[in-house]
Amino acid sequence: MTFSSFAAQLLAIVVAVLGAPLLTGWVNQCRAWLQNRSAPPLLLPYRTLHKLFNKESIVADHATPLFRISPYIVFAALVLACGIIPSLSTDLLLAPAADAIALVGLFALARVFMSLAAMDIGTAFGTLGARREMLVGFLAEPALLMVLFNAALMTQATSLASIVETIANQEFAIYPSLAVAGVAFTMVSLAENARVPVDNPTTHLELTMIHEAMILEYSGRHLALMEWAASLKLFAYSCIGIAIFFPWGISEIDEPVGMLLALPVLVAKLALGGALLALIETLSAKMRIFRVPEFLAGAFLLAVIGMLVHFLLGA
C-alpha cells in the first residue's frame, strides 16, 4: 500500500459520491433543454438531498429491520462499486481485490436488497416494482457480463484497471468487436439506470414505474440515500463506459501528477455522455414492459456477436 494509491482511491470515492448528483442534475437539465421545457437548476439534486436529509423518516409499523437497513446497504454497495472503477486513475488501492465480475456482483447485491425492501412492506406497488426490477435485472446482468468479457477477451484480464491500461496504451485502431460491445453496453445501462426506453425516472404513473415503484414507501433520509444511490449507479455506469471505450486521459501507476489532468478530462467526458443520454431519452419512446426482454435480448446478442467477431477477425 503506497500513499499515492491510497490518495487516488480516496479521491475516486470522494469525486464519485460528491459528483454523482451533479451528473444527474446535468442530465435532467439537458433533457429539459431538448424537450423545450425550462430547465431545473443544475444543483437541484443537492437541494433535494439536503431537504430529504432534514425531513423525518416515516416507516410503516410492520416494516422489518431489513427495510431500515436496506438504504445503507444499497448506498454502501454502490459507493464501493464506484471505488473499484478506474475513473481517474488505474492505481487504486481496491483494484487488486475486485475485478469486473465482482463489480457486477456489487450491482446485483444493491438490486437484491432494494427489491427485498420493496417487498418487505407488502404494498402492491412495491412488489410490482421489485418483480419488474428482477425481470430487467436478470436479463441485463448476463448482457453486462458479456460486454465486460468482450473487453477482457481483448486485453486478457478481467481486472478493470489492467483493461484500461492495455486499451489506453496500445496504438489506436478500430475494433469492430468493441464498437458492437459499446452499443450493447449503452442498451444495458439504459435498462439498468431506469432510463426512458425501459423506465421513466420522472414518471408519476404508478402502473408504469419500475425503479420509482420500489422506493415509493421510503421517506426522509432513507429516500435521500436511495436517490443518491441511483445517482451513484448512473455515475458508475458512465465511468465503466468511459473506462472501457474511451480510456484516454485516465492516469496510470507511474504518474500521480496525471490525476490533476484526469479530473477535467473526466468531467468533460461525463458532460458529453450525459448530454448523449439526454438525447437518447428524448428521441425514444418508453416501450411496453413486455418488450423489455426483447430489448435486453438484443443487447445480449450484440455482446455475443462482438465476441464472435473478435474470434473471426482477431480484432
Partner: protein, 220 residues
C-alpha cells in the same frame, strides 16, 4: 494489428451484420425499409473504401450503381408501394423475436466456422469478412422464412442480394462489370414485377399474406 483498410472494411462488415439482425428483429414495414436503405448506404461506403484503397476503378462504378439502385430507387419504390397498398404499419411475425435472434446467432456461428477455411484461400485485404457476408446471407434467408407478408419477404430477398454483393467485393475485389450490371438490372426489374404482383395478390385474396398462396383451389 492489420492495416487501416482492413480495419475500416471490418467495421463496415460488422455494421452490415448488425443491420441484418435489425432487419430480422424489426416488426414494422416502414422501419424495415429504413433499415434496408441504411444497409445499402453501408454497402456503398464499404465499396468506396475498397475502391479507394485498392485503386480498382470499376469498384467506384459499382459503388455508384449501388447508391442509385439500393439507396435511392428501390427504397423509393418500396415507399410508394406501401403507401399505395396502405401497409405502412403492418406488424407480423411467424416465430417470436427472441427465438428468431437465437436462431440468428446459431447461423452466425455456423457461417463463421464455414468461412474460416475458405477465406484463407483468398488474397484480398478484407478476406476475414467473408464469414460475415455469409452470415448476412443466411440471416436474410431466415428473414424470408420467418415472415408471412409479401413485402418483408421481398426486403429479405433484397438484403440477401446486398450480402452477396458484399461477399463478392470483399473476397475477390468485385465481379466483372457486365455481371454487376446484369444483377442490378435483374434486381430492379424483379422489384418492379413483384410490385405489380403485390397488387394482384391483394386483389385475389384481400391481403398480402402469402399463406393464401399455399391453397391449391379457390374457395376451399
Amino acid at each position: 494489428m492489420p492495416g487501416l483498410v482492413t480495419q475500416l472494411i471490418n467495421l463496415f462488415a460488422v455494421m452490415l451484420l448488425l443491420l441484418s439482425f435489425a432487419l430480422l428483429s424489426q416488426r414494422r414495414v416502414l422501419s424495415l425499409i429504413h433499415l434496408f436503405t441504411l444497409q445499402g448506404a453501408t454497402l456503398v461506403m464499404s465499396t468506396t473504401a475498397m475502391a479507394f484503397f485498392t485503386g480498382q476503378p470499376h469498384l467506384y462504378y459499382s459503388a455508384a450503381l449501388t447508391f442509385v439502385l439500393k439507396v435511392v430507387m428501390i427504397p423509393w419504390l418500396l415507399h410508394r408501394l406501401i403507401v399505395r397498398l396502405n401497409v405502412r404499419w403492418d406488424i407480423e411475425m411467424l416465430i417470436n423475436i427472441p427465438t428468431t435472434m437465437l436462431l440468428g446467432i446459431v447461423l452466425v456461428i455456423f457461417a463463421f466456422n464455414l468461412a474460416l477455411p475458405i477465406s484463407q484461400l483468398s488474397v484480398s485485404v478484407a478476406r476475414g469478412t467473408l464469414g460475415i457476408a455469409l452470415a448476412c446471407v443466411l440471416l436474410s434467408f431466415l428473414m424470408m422464412i420467418t415472415r408471412t407478408k409479401a413485402i418483408p419477404q421481398v426486403i429479405g430477398f433484397l438484403a440477401m442480394e446486398n450480402a452477396l454483393f458484399f461477399a463478392a467485393t470483399s473476397a475477390t475485389y468485385g465481379m466483372p462489370m457486365v455481371v454487376e450490371l446484369g444483377i442490378a438490372l435483374d434486381v430492379l426489374v424483379g422489384m418492379l414485377i413483384l410490385g405489380v404482383f403485390f397488387f394482384q395478390i391483394r386483389e385475389q385474396f384481400d391481403s398480402l399474406d402469402l399463406k393464401h398462396l399455399e391453397k391449391l383451389k379457390e374457395g376451399e
